[in-house]
Amino acid sequence: MVSTVLIPVLIISAIGAVLAAILVIAEHFIANYGPCKININDKRQLEVQGGKDLLSMLREEKIFIPSACGGRGTCGLCKLKAIVGAGPLLPTEEPFLDEEEKATNVRLSCQVKVRNDLQIEIPAELFNIREYQCKCAEIMDLTYDTKQFRFELLEPATIDYIPGQFVQFLSPVYDKSSEEVYRAYSISSDPVEKNIIELIIRLVPGGICTTYCFEYLRVGDEVKLNGPYGEFRLTETDAPIIFVAGGSGMAPIKCLLHQMKNTNSQRTARYFFGANTVKDISHYKLMKQFEADLPGFTYIPVVSDPAEGEEWTGETGLVTEALMENVKNTTECEAYLCGSPGMITAVIKVLTELGMDEAKIFYDKFE
C-alpha cells in the first residue's frame, strides 16, 4: 500500500529534479552569449562578454552614455545608433523615439541586450566623458530640503565642462538600496575651479540617490561622478537674457552667472527665481553680489506664499505672474529655464504669449 503511493511520488520528484537540472544547465549555456564584439563608429572595437545591457557594458569600458535614470528605461537619454545586431525595437523604447529615430536605428542603450556582435554609432564627444573619483569636501544646508555638495576631484584631478552641463552621480549600494544607481545633477560650481564639482540637490522623499546624499554621505567620503553631459548653455549672442528657475533648478543658472562674471559679460540678464516661501530662497547674498559684479544683471526672487511673520518686500505671486508683470518686450530676448516640468511648461506658455520665439527658449526640464 505504502509503495503504491511512494513510487509515483518518487518518480514525479525525480522527473522534477531532472527538469530543474536541465533548466539550470540550459540557462548556463543558452544565456551565456559568450564573447561579443562591439564596433563603435567603425573606429574602435570592444571585446566583451555578452549578456548585459549595452549601456552598462559601455560604462564598464569607460564609455559613458548620458542616462538620468540609471538604466531603467525611464529617462530616454541613453540614445545611440545601433546599426547592426541590436535585435527588434522593444515596447519599452518606443515612447522615447520619434519616427525618424526609429527609421535610423536609434535605440535606448539601456534596453539593448548584448547577445551578439554589434555595430553602433555614438557622438564623438562622448569619448571625452570621464569618470571622476572625488572626495566630498563640503556639505552646506541651503534650505530645509536642499543642500549644496562640493566634491574635490582626485583622479582625474581637473575637469573641463561648459557651464550649464550636468554630471552623473553614482549612488553606491547602502542599507536602503541594494544596487548602485546613477542620477543626473547640474553643475553649479564656478567653472574656474577646475578641481571642484559643486552640486545642488533637493531631497526627494524615498529617492535612492538623494537619501544617500542627505543621510549617508559625509565630508571626506569618496564618490564617483562621470560627465560632463548636456546641451544647456549660453549662446554666443548679446541677446538680453531671462533666467527662470525654481528649487534646485538654480544650480545651472548659478554656474552660468559665474561664467558671465568670469568673462566680464555685458549682457542684460534678469533672473526670476520662484520660491514658495522666503525659506525656499537660498544664495540671496551671492545673487546680490552678482548684481554688483555684473552691470546688466538683476535678481528677482518671487515668493508665492510668504508665511505669516515672514517679512518679504519683494515680488509675490507665481513666477509666471511676475514674468507677465515685469517682462514687456521679449522679441529680442533669450530665455534659460530650469525647474520642474510643470513650471517650465507654464513659463514657456507665458513667454510665447509675450511674443518670444520658442526657438530662443532653452530649458533643462527635470525629467
Binding site: 535614470c69 531603467r72 519599452t92 544596487e179 545633477y185 514658495n276 508665492s304 510643470g342 525629467e367
Partner: protein, 150 residues
C-alpha cells in the same frame, strides 16, 4: 494559493530597492495578493471603488499642481501642494507605465493630519489595487486615505 512565476517575479521587484529606496513592500511579509485583497476588502467595506479613490486623488493633484509647489486650498478642510523632482518613476508591473516624480502632500486644516502620494501611487491604486506594503515610504492606508480626501 500557489503564485505564478510572473507573480513571484513581480513580488521580487516590489521587495527590492531597484525602483525606489526601501522597495514597495516595506517590512510587510505578506504575499502581494494578500496585501491587495485585504486593502480591496477595506475599500469595498467603506463603500468606495478604486476608481473613485484614484479619481479623487488625481483631482486633488491636478488642482494643487497649478502653484508649482505652493499650497492650494482644496476645500474648507484640505490644502495640498505638489512637489516635483527630476526623473520619472516606473511602474513595477510589466507594462510601459512611467510617471513624473511628483508627490502630492495633503493636509487636513482642522486636524493637522497629512498624507502624501506620488503619481505612481494613483496609478497603482487605480490599475493594480496596490496601496504598497506596510512600512514602505509611500504606503497608503485605505481608511486614512478615504477619511482624508472624501
Amino acid at each position: 494559493m500557489k503564485e505564478s512565476p510572473q507573480r513571484r517575479e513581480l513580488e521580487e521587484v516590489l521587495r527590492s530597492s531597484k525602483l525606489v529606496a526601501y522597495g514597495f513592500m516595506g517590512m510587510d511579509t505578506r504575499h502581494l495578493s494578500e496585501i491587495i485583497d485585504n486593502d480591496l476588502a477595506e475599500v469595498s467595506r467603506a463603500g468606495y471603488t478604486l476608481e473613485q479613490l484614484a479619481g479623487r486623488m488625481q483631482e486633488i493633484t491636478d488642482q494643487a499642481a497649478t502653484r508649482f509647489g505652493g499650497w492650494v486650498e482644496i476645500n474648507e478642510n484640505l490644502r495640498a501642494r505638489v512637489v516635483e523632482a527630476k526623473g520619472r518613476l516606473v511602474c513595477p508591473w510589466p507594462h510601459p507605465g512611467r510617471f513624473n516624480k511628483r508627490v502630492t502632500m495633503v493636509e487636513h486644516l482642522k486636524t493637522g493630519e497629512t498624507i502624501s502620494w506620488s503619481d505612481l501611487n494613483i496609478h497603482m491604486i487605480s490599475e493594480h489595487g496596490f496601496f504598497e506594503g506596510k512600512g514602505s515610504a509611500f504606503r497608503l492606508e485605505p481608511e486614512e486615505l478615504f477619511q482624508m480626501i472624501f
